[in-house]
Each structure stands twice: as structure tokens, then as C-alpha cells.
């Protein structure tokens, strides 16, 4: 378990949240969401790491059930999480394009017709 991974993951998440909250430009907000997502993905991958373990692929000859290998489940979770992250980004960017067409601006401060 490498501490650097965790610090990196938490930092990425924090940076993502920071940009979402502080930045007024919509594209930057979408980037913030991306950052946060990748931070979480990094966290998931690094959770499953056992120091000294080998890749959990059974085709390699010397791997027998007793061998010590890295936990495969988080890797699977990360795959799905990356896919989901990609879809969300695609959706977000398409909405941003439509907002630009409709509101003629990308400044979050001026896109607030629904309030109160």
C-alpha cells in the first residue's frame, strides 16, 4: 500500500472539488468533475495493491492457486468507474455546448434563470 497513491488520490479529489466550487467557467467545472473522478479511480486501484503480488492472470504458467497476487476486484471496479467517468464527461460537455448556444455565455454566475 503505497502512501503516495493515497495522498495523490485525495489531492486529486480535493483539487477537483476546489475547481468545481471556485471556478465560474463551465468548462473548468467539467474539468473539475473529471479531476475528482480520476482521483477516485486512482484510490480504487491503489486499494487493491498487495506489495510483491503478481498480476492476477491465470494464463501465466507458473501461477498456481497458492501464488500470491494482487486483488483483482478493485481493478474491475476501476474499469467500470473509468467508463462511467467518460460517459458523464461526454454528457456534461454536450450540455455545456447546448448551454453556450442557448445562453450565449459560459459564465456560471450568469446562468441562473432558475432561482429562488
Amino acid at each position: 500500500m503505497i502512501i503516495a497513491n493515497y495522498i495523490g488520490a485525495v489531492l486529486l479529489m480535493f483539487l477537483g472539488l476546489y475547481t468545481i466550487i471556485m471556478k465560474k467557467h463551465l468548462i473548468k467545472i467539467v474539468m473539475g468533475m473529471c479531476l475528482m473522478d480520476y482521483g477516485v479511480n486512482l484510490l480504487i486501484v491503489s486499494i487493491g495493491f498487495n506489495p510483491g503480488g503478481t498480476a492476477p492472470i491465470f494464463t501465466i504458467s507458473e501461477l498456481d492457486p497458492g501464488a500470491f497476487f494482487v486483488d483483482p476486484v478493485p481493478q474491475a471496479l476501476t474499469l467500470t468507474s473509468i467508463v462511467i467517468g467518460a460517459c458523464v464527461m461526454a454528457m456534461a460537455l454536450s450540455i455545456v455546448i447546448k448551454i453556450k448556444q442557448k445562453y450565449k455565455t459560459l459564465d456560471a454566475g450568469r446562468i441562473r434563470r432558475l432561482n429562488g
Binding site: 468545481i20 466550487i21 467545472i29 480504487i44 471496479l77 458523464v88 450540455i95 432558475l114 429562488g116
Partner: protein, 638 residues
């Protein structure tokens, strides 16, 4: 064969959405029939499950791809259907079927309807999957699917006022919430190295809560709270319900926020079994009360029909949460009963809003007026919905609110803590404010003078009306026969919410709990004699009184006065009394009602108005701040 029904119902929804993508594009009839067919199948399948699960009390567990747990260690992804899951599943499939039938005609004026139905069925599949799944990460996947589909559906009418903006905000807050859920899931996984709910709760119960699991639990709780739109996370929901098409906002408020509530109930009662600690109860009840009060006060000062309904569904979710947070048997069943009632009458009200939008084209309270003369049936349905949401006795809102107050006040007395007495007072006050805001809508939209823009309004076609009538009748029935609904639906569900060992044994094989030294959970005593009030005799007598009252007044009147004359147009006798002036259009409605209340609470309303600023960053800030508070509270007190 009945074992496969849960997975079949989820798959039928997803299969339906994919088939519509393929075939739905060209031909309208195929698309409509596919949509209705694939929303009817899960309804039938889930109804078949009622007999074994709700009545006999079995718990179905279904391992995907037959990956049975090996030597007490769950590997595969499991579906777990116990009474609680089936209760929510029933809500989900009922709402989907009615919304599908309603949107056939309601959406007929829009284009690209095959994409609409694809997203619609995907949304249904996501929520049904969340409710039935017994695996933590699988619940996260389903949450992502439903968030994805609801964002797309909110932005479906992108020519509408603010729908794109609402979709974007919904997506930002939704993805922050999902990120928290995912982090929570992975923190729990790091601790117990399994994802199946049953095994997690068993292991956590034996090993006890370490700081990492508490942090994970807090993140999961906050994540599901954003999905249920509790107070700090609610403005996004108000925008989304307002701009989405009404059949979709009915689905949103009928089942999407119920999914969030289901997630929280499952987490708090089953997985972490934290409800025994009073600190946990305090935070849920505080959040619930805040949601109740802020939801209804914001609804009072709205100018748009659907935004008002949106804030009401937020406040009703506050009711459900408060009731569930009481952790007494009566509390949980009151909360679940209110969730059922809420789905019924809130769905009904959104359908009425849709009907008004369909026939008049706008839902702005200040522009509408006097629709009762043009749309009599919608008015009656709306009155049934309004009376049942404000909890007037013969309707269903009354029963569940009554159980909630009884539970809250009994808890206040048993624990001697004044806090729960305040909760009861806030609950009763919010119920009156709900009545106030629905009187506002009744006066500004349906009664009063006919607004200039509404002359051409006419009754909505039958295919939209029969789902509304069905829900109205369901509203009245669940209000009249609470004993029946309680015994077969609500009590088994609330018992299942508490009975963790049954859940674990069903999932992981019998006796799994005992090996780990888990004492079988004693189900809280659920027998309470409440329904002495509404037995059918009382109902028969009430009906007789109504008849007698009618006869006396009309009979007396008939004997001694002229017939109730049909209004003759020319005769000024039947004009409205304007103090002598000719009766011109002057409609009191929309925002000029409740002046006294708004004047006295004007500082509060001004503050609340500024808090809902509409800027994405503020909403994100509220989400993160809310999560931080929850995490801090959990770490300090759990």
C-alpha cells in the same frame, strides 16, 4: 422459475430500452407498444413476487451467473429481495407503468420520442436495479445509470426555460454525490474485502466500526443523501423536477428520491446497524426536519406550479426521513407508509400539472386561472391530490402523517427528550403550511376568474385521464383501508428493514450469522392498535351523514325556494358581485395570496430566496459543505 423474476424484471426494462433504440425510430405504433409492453412486464413480475415475499415472508437471493458464496465468502454479485426491497420495487414499477401510459399522449407533441422512451426505461431499470440489488458496488452502478438517465431526461425539452441549466446543475451535484458513494464503497471494501451487503453487515457487526469504516459510512450516507435530495442538496432537485416533462417529474418524485431513501434505510439499518445509537437518530431526524420545513416554506413563495410541487416532494421526503430516523417500529412503518402515499398523491399532482401544461401550455401560477370550468375532471383529481397531501382525514396522507406524529411523540415521551416533541410540532406545522400552499395553487390555477390565456383550454384526452383516475382512486383507497395496507405491505417491509440476521442468512446460507456470534436481532414490537378509528362501520355512518346533509339542505331548499336557476347570460343577476361595477377580469391568485404570512416572515423568505441563488458553484458548495458536516458529525459521535 419464480426465483428468476427479480433479474427478469430488471432485464426486461433494459432490454426494452435497447429494443426501442433499434425499432422505435421509425414507426410510432411499434415504439409506443414496445414502451408500454416493457413497462408492463416488470409490473406483472413484481406483483407475482408479492405472494411469496410479503405474505409468506421469504427472502429471495439470486446470485448472478450462479456464483454462490464459496466457504462463507461472497464472490459473485447478488440480488436480494426481501420485504423492504419488494415494497420499494412495487412503488417503482407502478410509477413506471402509469408514467409510460400517461406520456404516450402527453409527449405526443414532442419529437425524438424513441430517445425519450429509451432513457425512460433505462431510468426505470436503474432504480429497480438499485432497489433489488444486494451488492454495494452494484447499487453504485445503478445509481450512476439513473443519474445519467435523469440528467438526459431533464434536458429532454431543451427549448424549455432553464432545462439545460437544470440538467447541468443536476449532473454536477449528482456526480459529486456519486463520487462520494464510490469512495465510500471502496473504503468499505478495503476494510472487509467483500461487496455483498449481507457479508459486509455480518463482518462489520463482528469486527466493530473502525475509523475507516465510519468515514466510508459517512461518505456513503452523504452520497445517498444527495440522491434523496435532503436539505443541503435539494435545490438541484427543485430545478430538475420543474423543467422535466411532467411524466418524468412524476417518475422523479415518485421513485428516484425514494431510491435515495431506500439506499439510506439499507445502509443505516442493515449494513452498519448504527440506528441503535441515539446520535445517528439525531442526525437523521434533524436532516429530516430541516428538509420538511425548508421544503414547504420555499414552496409557499413559488410562482411556478411544478416548482411548487417539486419543493413539496422535497418536504414530503423530509417527512419520510424523519419517520425513518425515529428507529421505532411505528416510526419506520409510518415512514414507509408515507413513502407509498407520497408516490401516489405526488404522482397524481404532477400528472395534473402535466394535464394543465398539455391543455394550456404554461404552468406559471400568475398566468393561469379559472380552469375548473374548462377542465372539471382534472380539478376534482387535483382536489383529491391536494387534500390527501395535506392530510385531511378521509384521504391517505392523513393515515401516514398520523402514524408519524404518534411515533415521534411516543419517542419523545419514552426518551423524555424535548427534542422529539419539537419534531412533532414542526411536523404538524409543516402539514398546515402544505395545506396553505395547495390552497394557493387551487385558487390561482383552478378556481377564480378565467384567465385570458385559458379560454381555449379543454379537458385532456382519456388516455391521460385514466392513469390520473387510477391514482386518485388508489389515493382514496389507501386512505380508507389503512389496516389492509398496513398488514400486507407496510408492516412486513418495516420488519424486514430491522431484521438483519434473516437478511444475512438468506444471502449467505443459513446459520452464517450464528457462526460469527451474531445474536438474532429481535424485531421491534410492531403490534399497535391504531385503526380502531376507521373501521368500515364508521365509514358507512359518515356516508349516511353526507347523504342526510345533502337531502336536508336540498329538500328544505326545494320546498321553499325557486329552482336553482340555470344562469341566463344576459341577466346581470348571475354576474360576480364587484361592488356594483361591471364584472371585468380581476383574478386574485398566484403571488398575491397569504400577504399576512409573507409579511411577517419576510426576512426568512428573503434569506431563503438568496440561498437558492441558482449558481452551480453555490449548489456544489452546499453539497460539499453538507457532506463535511455529516462526516464531522459521524466521526465525533459514532
Amino acid at each position: 422459475m419464480i426465483q428468476h423474476f427479480p433479474i427478469l424484471s430488471i432485464m426486461s426494462l433494459f432490454l426494452g430500452s435497447f429494443l426501442i433504440v433499434i425499432f422505435g425510430g421509425k414507426n410510432r405504433f411499434i415504439r409506443n407498444s414496445l414502451a408500454v409492453l416493457f413497462s408492463a412486464i416488470p409490473l406483472v413480475l413484481i406483483c407475482c413476487l408479492i405472494k411469496p415475499i410479503l405474505i409468506d415472508g421469504e427472502i429471495f437471493s439470486y446470485w448472478m451467473g450462479d456464483w454462490e458464496p464459496v466457504s462463507g465468502f461472497a464472490i459473485g454479485i447478488g440480488l436480494e429481495v426481501d420485504a423492504l426491497s419488494l415494497f420499494f420495487a412495487l412503488l417503482v414499477v407502478l410509477t413506471i407503468f402509469l408514467a409510460a401510459v400517461f406520456s404516450l399522449k402527453y409527449m405526443s407533441r414532442d419529437d425524438a420520442l424513441d430517445k425519450y422512451y429509451t432513457l425512460f426505461l433505462m431510468l426505470g431499470g436503474g432504480v429497480l436495479g438499485l432497489v433489488l440489488s444486494g451488492d454495494l458496488f452494484n447499487m453504485y452502478i445503478m445509481v450512476e445509470i439513473l443519474t445519467f438517465a435523469s440528467v438526459a431526461l431533464t434536458a429532454f425539452r431543451n427549448w424549455g426555460k432553464g432545462s439545460l441549466e437544470a440538467a447541468f446543475k443536476y449532473l454536477v451535484v449528482g456526480s459529486i454525490g456519486s463520487a462520494f458513494i464510490l469512495t465510500g464503497v471502496i473504503l468499505i471494501y478495503a476494510q472487509v474485502h467483500t461487496l455483498s451487503l449481507a457479508q459486509i453487515s455480518a463482518l462489520l457487526a463482528t469486527e466493530g466500526l473502525t475509523p475507516a469504516t465510519i468515514f466510508g459510512f459517512a461518505l456513503l450516507f452523504a452520497g445517498y443523501a444527495t440522491k434523496a435530495y435532503i436539505v443541503p442538496f435539494h435545490p438541484v432537485a427543485a430545478d430538475a423536477y420543474m423543467t422535466a416533462p411532467s411524466s418524468i417529474s412524476m417518475v422523479f418524485s415518485g421513485m428516484v428520491n425514494k431510491a435515495g431513501i431506500y439506499g439510506m434505510i439499507r445502509l443505516v439499518y442493515m449494513v452498519f446497524q448504527a440506528m441503535s445509537q441515539s446520535a445517528m437518530q439525531y442526525i437523521i431526524v434533524i436532516l429530516g426536519c430541516l428538509t420538511m420545513f425548508i421544503g414547504v416554506t420555499m414552496a409557499l413563495s413559488q410562482h411556478d406550479f411544478k416548482r411548487l410541487l417539486a419543493f413539496h416532494s422535497i418536504s414530503q421526503i423530509g417527512y419520510v426521513l424523519t419517520a425513518v430516523g425515529l428507529a421505532t417500529a411505528l416510526g419506520i412503518s409510518g415512514g414507509l407508509y408515507h413513502a407509498l402515499n407520497h408516490t401516489l398523491f405526488k404522482g397524481l399532482l404532477f400528472l395534473c400539472a402535466g394535464a394543465v401544461f398539455y391543455s394550456v401550455g404554461s404552468t406559471d401560477l400568475d398566468k393561469l386561472g379559472g380552469l375548473a370550468k374548462k377542465m372539471p375532471q382534472t380539478t376534482i383529481i387535483f382536489l383529491i391530490g391536494a387534500f390527501s397531501i395535506s392530510g385531511l382525514p378521509p384521504f391517505n396522507g392523513f393515515m401516514s402523517k398520523w402514524m408519524i406524529y404518534q411515533a415521534a411523540y411516543e419517542k419523545a415521551a419514552l426518551e423524555g427528550s424535548f427534542f422529539y416533541a419539537l419534531v412533532t410540532i414542526v411536523g404538524l406545522l409543516v402539514s398546515v403550511l402544505t395545506l396553505a400552499s395547495f390552497i394557493k395553487v387551487t385558487q390561482s390555477v383552478f378556481f377564480g376568474q378565467l384567465a385570458p390565456g385559458c379560454e381555449k383550454a379543454k379537458e385532456v384526452p382519456f388516455s391521460m385521464r385514466w392513469p390520473m383516475w387510477l391514482m386518485a382512486i388508489l389515493c382514496v383507497l389507501t386512505g380508507l383501508f389503512p389496516g389492509f395496507v398496513n398488514r400486507y405491505l407496510v408492516v412486513p417491509a418495516s420488519a424486514a428493514a430491522i431484521d438483519t440476521t434473516g437478511y444475512i442468512d438468506a444471502m449467505m446460507g443459513a446459520g452464517y450469522g450464528q457462526q460469527l456470534g451474531l445474536s438474532p436481532e429481535t424485531a421491534l414490537s410492531l403490534e399497535y392498535e391504531l385503526t380502531g378509528y376507521w373501521d368500515p362501520i364508521a365509514w358507512l355512518v359518515l356516508f349516511v351523514v353526507l347523504l342526510a346533509g345533502l337531502m336536508i339542505s336540498l329538500g328544505l331548499g326545494k320546498a321553499s325556494r325557486g329552482p336553482v336557476r340555470r344562469p341566463v347570460p344576459a341577466d346581470p343577476k348571475y354576474d360576480t358581485f364587484f361592488g356594483g361595477e361591471a364584472s371585468q377580469h380581476s383574478h386574485v391568485g398566484g403571488s398575491d395570496l397569504f400577504w399576512g404570512l409573507k409579511h411577517n416572515l419576510r426576512h426568512y423568505f428573503r434569506f431563503m430566496h438568496s440561498m437558492h441563488s441558482g449558481v452551480v458553484n453555490d449548489y456544489a458548495l452546499w453539497t460539499v459543505a453538507g457532506t463535511a458536516v455529516i462526516i464531522l458529525f459521524m466521526i465525533l459521535f459514532l
